[in-house]
C-alpha cells in the first residue's frame, strides 16, 4: 500500500495573518463605536460605579472657638463680578463729566494724561480691592471649611473613616468639596425624613463651574424627595471652576450624588 498525500493548495499562511489583522482592526473599531453609542444613549449602571468616601483626620488640640450657631450663620462669599462692572461704569461717567467741563482741543492732551494717571490709580485701587477681597474670600473659605468639616483646628495625624485616603486625587477633592456645598442645602420636611429611600443624581458640570445638567438615575419613588434633592444641587451652584485636568470628567458627568447614600 502506498500512502497518498494530498498537497495543501489553499491560501497561504500570510493570507490568514493579514485577514486576522484586518478583522482585529475592524472589531476594535466596532467595539469603540458600540461603547460610544452605549455610553451616549444609556445611563451608567450602578455596579459600574465606585464609592468615594472621605477620610477625616481628627486631632483635637484645643476647644472649638466657634459655637454651632456661629458656624451656621457663616454665608458663602457673594460674587464680585457685578461690583467690578459697577466700578467701571462709574469711571466712564466721571470721565464724561470732566470731558464736558473742558474745551475740546486745547485740553485734550492734558485730559488724556490725566485719564491715563487716573486709570492707573483706578486700576491700582481695583487691584488692591481685588487682593483684599481675595484674602477675605480665602479667610471665609477657610472658616466655611471649618463649618463643613466639623470645627476642626488642625489637620491631625489620627485617621478616622471607612476608607483612609490621605492623598485624594484632584477630581475626588473637587467632588467632595462640591458635595459639602450641596449638603448645606439638602433639607427635607418631617414627613419625608423617616422614609428609607434614596435618590441618585448624575451631575454634569460646565467648564466654568456652572451646572450643565442634573439627571436622576435612581429615583426614590417620592417625587418631592427627588425634587428637593435636585433643588439642593441647583442651590449650591455655581460650583468652583474646575481645573483643565478634571474639567472633562466633570463635563462627562462622571460622578453621582447619593441622597442620602
Amino acid at each position: 500500500m502506498i500512502a497518498s498525500f494530498q498537497i495543501y493548495k489553499g491560501p497561504s499562511l500570510w493570507f490568514y495573518i493579514k485577514r486576522s489583522i484586518l478583522l482585529h482592526c475592524e472589531c476594535i473599531l466596532l467595539f469603540f463605536f458600540i461603547t460610544y453609542v452605549v455610553s451616549f444613549f444609556f445611563d451608567q449602571k450602578v455596579e459600574d460605579m465606585d464609592y468615594l468616601k472621605q477620610a477625616v483626620r481628627v486631632d483635637l488640640v484645643e476647644m472649638p472657638k466657634y459655637t454651632l450657631e456661629e458656624l451656621r450663620e457663616l454665608k458663602p462669599v457673594p460674587a464680585k463680578e457685578d461690583k467690578m462692572q459697577e466700578t467701571k461704569e462709574e469711571v466712564s461717567e466721571e470721565d464724561k463729566r470732566e470731558d464736558l467741563s473742558k474745551s475740546e482741543e486745547a485740553e485734550l492732551e492734558d485730559l488724556m494724561q490725566k485719564l491715563v494717571k487716573k486709570g492707573k490709580k483706578k486700576n491700582e485701587a481695583i487691584k488692591e480691592k481685588l487682593e483684599v477681597d481675595k484674602l477675605k474670600k480665602e479667610k471665609l473659605d477657610k472658616i466655611n471649611q471649618l463649618v463643613l468639616s466639623g470645627n476642626k483646628i488642625l489637620e491631625g495625624q489620627q485617621v478616622e473613616g471607612d476608607q483612609a485616603q490621605y492623598d485624594l486625587q484632584e477630581f475626588d477633592r473637587y467632588v467632595l468639596k462640591m458635595t459639602e456645598n450641596v449638603r448645606r442645602y439638602w433639607q427635607l420636611p418631617s414627613y419625608l425624613q423617616g422614609l428609607k429611600v434614596k435618590c441618585r443624581i448624575q451631575v454634569y458640570i460646565e467648564l466654568d463651574g456652572k451646572l450643565r445638567m442634573a439627571k436622576i438615575i435612581e429615583s426614590s419613588g417620592q417625587t418631592e424627595f427627588d425634587e428637593r434633592a435636585l433643588a439642593a444641587i441647583k442651590q449650591a451652584t455655581p460650583f468652583e471652576v474646575p481645573s483643565e485636568k478634571i474639567a472633562p470628567k466633570l463635563l462627562k458627568g462622571l460622578f453621582i450624588l447619593g441622597f442620602p447614600l
Binding site: Y51, L52, M63, P64, R183
Partner: protein
C-alpha cells in the same frame, strides 16, 4: 490550518475586548458620593382660634389656654414655625374650606381651639394629608398651667409622634432672696418654662446638687447643715409625695453629687471618708456601699445613661480635670477617657440616649458649654461670650439643656440664674430671672 487561525483570532478578540473594556471602565468609572442625611425643614403650625359668640363665658379662658400652648410650642422653635390667628367666625363646617385655603407648603399642621357652649374643643389637622390627627373635648375649661401643659403634650405627641418637654420639671438650688438667710440655699422645683416654682426644703442650711428619681417622686441632694456640729456634706432624700426628707449618707467629708441608678433603688455619689474622693454606689434599701472608682485622683460628678450601663464622671487623673466613662457594674471597669482638651472641664452629663455628653470647660476666664459624642469624635461648642455658663442638664427628650449662667448680671460678681437653650445652643431665655445664686439645675425624667 484554517480552523486553527479562526480559533486564534477569536481568542485574541475575546482577550482584546476584555482588556479594552476594562481599560474603558477604569477611565470612565463614575464616583458615587453620599450627601448624607438631610437636615429638617421647619414644620409650620397655625394656631387658629374660633369663637361662637363674643359673649361666650369661656372666651377669656380659651384665649389664655391658646397663649400658654403657643408659648409651650415656641420652645420647639428650632423644629416648628408657629403662627397664630384670631378667627371671629364659627368653626362649624369650616374644615373643607380651610383645607382649600391652606397649602401644605405654607402650613403643615392646623390647630383650632373652638368654643362649644360651656365646652372647648381642641382639634388638630394634618393639612398635607387632610386628616384630623387630634381632638380633645375640654369639659371644664381651665387655664391652669399644668392642665394646659398636658393638652400641649397630647397635641405634640399627635404631631411629632414622641414625648414633649411640656410635662418635665426642673429641680435646682437657690439662695434666699433677702433677709438674714440670704447665704442659705434651699432646693426648688419649677416647670420646664420657669413657672410654678416651689420651694421644697427648709433646712436653713446649704442644700445643693439635687437630682430627680427615675419616677420623679423623690429628690436626692446634699446638705451642709448649719445646725450640725459636724461640718460635712451629707446626703438627703426628699419624698415629694409625703413632703418628708431623710438623711441617706452622713459619712465624714463629702457625700455629694448624687444621682439615682436607673431602677431608682440606689444612688451613685462621691464619698471622701477614705481620704480621697471616689465614686460609690449605695443601695438605698440595704445601705450597702460599693466602690466604683479607685484611683489616687479625685473622681466626682457622676452621670448615668438611662439603661444604667455607662457612667460618666470627672477625674483629674491626667493632671487636670477631664471627662471619663466606665461600666458601673464593677470597680474601675472599662474606664475610658473621653475628653482630651480643655484647661478644666466640669459637670459631665449624659444625653437621654447616652450618645452624647454635655459638660462645661474653662475658657477665657469663664466656663462655656460643650457637647461631646462619647466616641470623642465630635466636640461642639454651645455657648460663648456671655458670662460663665455651667451645670448643664439635658431634658428627657434630649432637645433642651438647662444650665446656670451669669450672662445678664452687672458688676464684678453678677447673679447666677438658670437658662434654657436647645441642644444646638440657641438660648431660649432665663427660667429664674428673680432668683439669686441658682446652681445645679436638673431636669426630671
Amino acid at each position: 490550518m484554517k480552523n486553527y487561525f479562526y480559533i486564534l483570532f477569536f481568542l485574541n478578540l475575546i482577550i482584546d475586548t476584555g482588556f479594552l473594556h476594562g481599560q474603558a471602565q477604569a477611565q470612565d468609572q463614575a464616583k458615587i458620593v453620599a450627601v448624607g442625611e438631610a437636615s429638617k425643614v421647619k414644620d409650620k403650625i397655625l394656631f387658629d382660634f374660633y369663637v361662637c359668640a363674643k359673649s361666650n363665658p369661656n372666651l377669656a379662658v380659651a384665649k389664655e389656654i391658646r397663649e400658654i400652648m403657643r408659648n409651650d410650642f415656641s420652645f420647639y422653635r428650632h423644629i416648628y414655625s408657629i403662627f397664630t390667628s384670631d378667627q371671629e367666625s364659627s368653626f362649624a363646617g369650616l374644615v373643607d374650606s380651610k383645607y382649600q385655603a391652606l397649602n401644605s407648603d405654607q402650613v403643615f399642621y392646623w390647630i383650632a381651639l373652638t368654643c362649644d357652649g360651656s365646652k372647648l374643643n381642641l382639634v388638630a389637622f394634618n393639612v398635607r394629608e387632610r386628616k384630623e390627627i387630634f381632638r380633645q373635648v375640654i369639659s371644664n375649661p381651665s387655664s391652669d398651667r399644668s392642665f394646659v401643659h398636658k393638652l400641649s403634650d397630647g397635641l405634640f405627641k399627635a404631631i411629632a409622634k414622641r414625648n414633649s418637654v411640656f410635662l418635665s420639671k426642673v429641680v435646682f438650688s437657690a439662695a434666699e432672696v433677702w433677709g438674714p438667710r440670704k447665704s442659705m440655699k434651699e432646693i426648688y422645683t419649677m416647670d420646664f418654662d420657669g413657672f410654678n416654682m416651689k420651694k421644697i426644703t427648709n433646712h436653713k442650711g446649704i442644700a445643693i446638687s439635687p437630682a430627680f428619681s427615675p419616677d420623679n417622686n423623690k429628690i436626692i441632694y446634699s446638705l451642709i447643715d448649719s445646725k450640725s456640729r459636724i461640718k460635712n456634706v451629707a446626703l438627703h432624700e426628699f419624698n415629694l409625695l409625703t413632703g418628708k426628707s431623710i438623711k441617706v449618707s452622713d459619712k465624714v467629708g463629702i457625700n455629694s453629687g448624687a444621682i439615682y441608678t436607673s431602677d431608682g433603688r440606689g444612688v451613685y455619689f462621691t464619698l471622701s471618708y477614705r481620704g480621697n474622693a471616689d465614686i460609690y454606689h449605695l443601695d438605698l434599701g440595704t445601705k450597702l456601699e460599693r466602690q466604683i472608682t479607685n484611683n489616687r485622683a479625685e473622681d466626682v460628678d457622676p452621670s448615668i445613661t438611662s439603661d444604667g450601663r455607662l457612667l460618666t464622671f470627672l477625674s483629674n487623673r491626667p493632671g487636670n480635670a477631664h471627662v471619663y466613662t466606665l461600666n458601673p457594674s464593677g470597680m474601675e471597669s472599662q474606664v475610658n477617657r473621653v475628653s482630651f482638651v480643655g484647661q478644666f472641664n466640669a459637670t459631665p452629663r449624659f444625653s437621654p440616649d447616652g450618645k452624647e455628653i454635655i459638660f462645661s470647660s474653662w475658657v477665657d476666664q469663664g466656663f462655656d458649654l460643650y457637647r461631646l459624642s462619647i466616641s470623642g469624635n465630635s466636640l461642639i461648642r454651645l455657648t460663648k461670650n456671655f458670662g460663665s455658663n455651667e451645670d448643664p442638664s439635658f431634658s428627657p427628650d434630649g432637645e433642651f439643656i438647662v444650665f446656670t449662667s451669669k450672662r445678664n448680671g452687672r458688676g464684678v460678681d453678677p447673679d447666677q440664674k438658670i437658662y434654657i437653650m436647645n441642644r444646638d445652643g440657641d438660648i431660649l431665655g432665663a427660667l429664674t430671672p428673680k432668683m439669686p445664686l441658682c446652681t445645679s439645675p436638673r431636669f426630671s425624667n
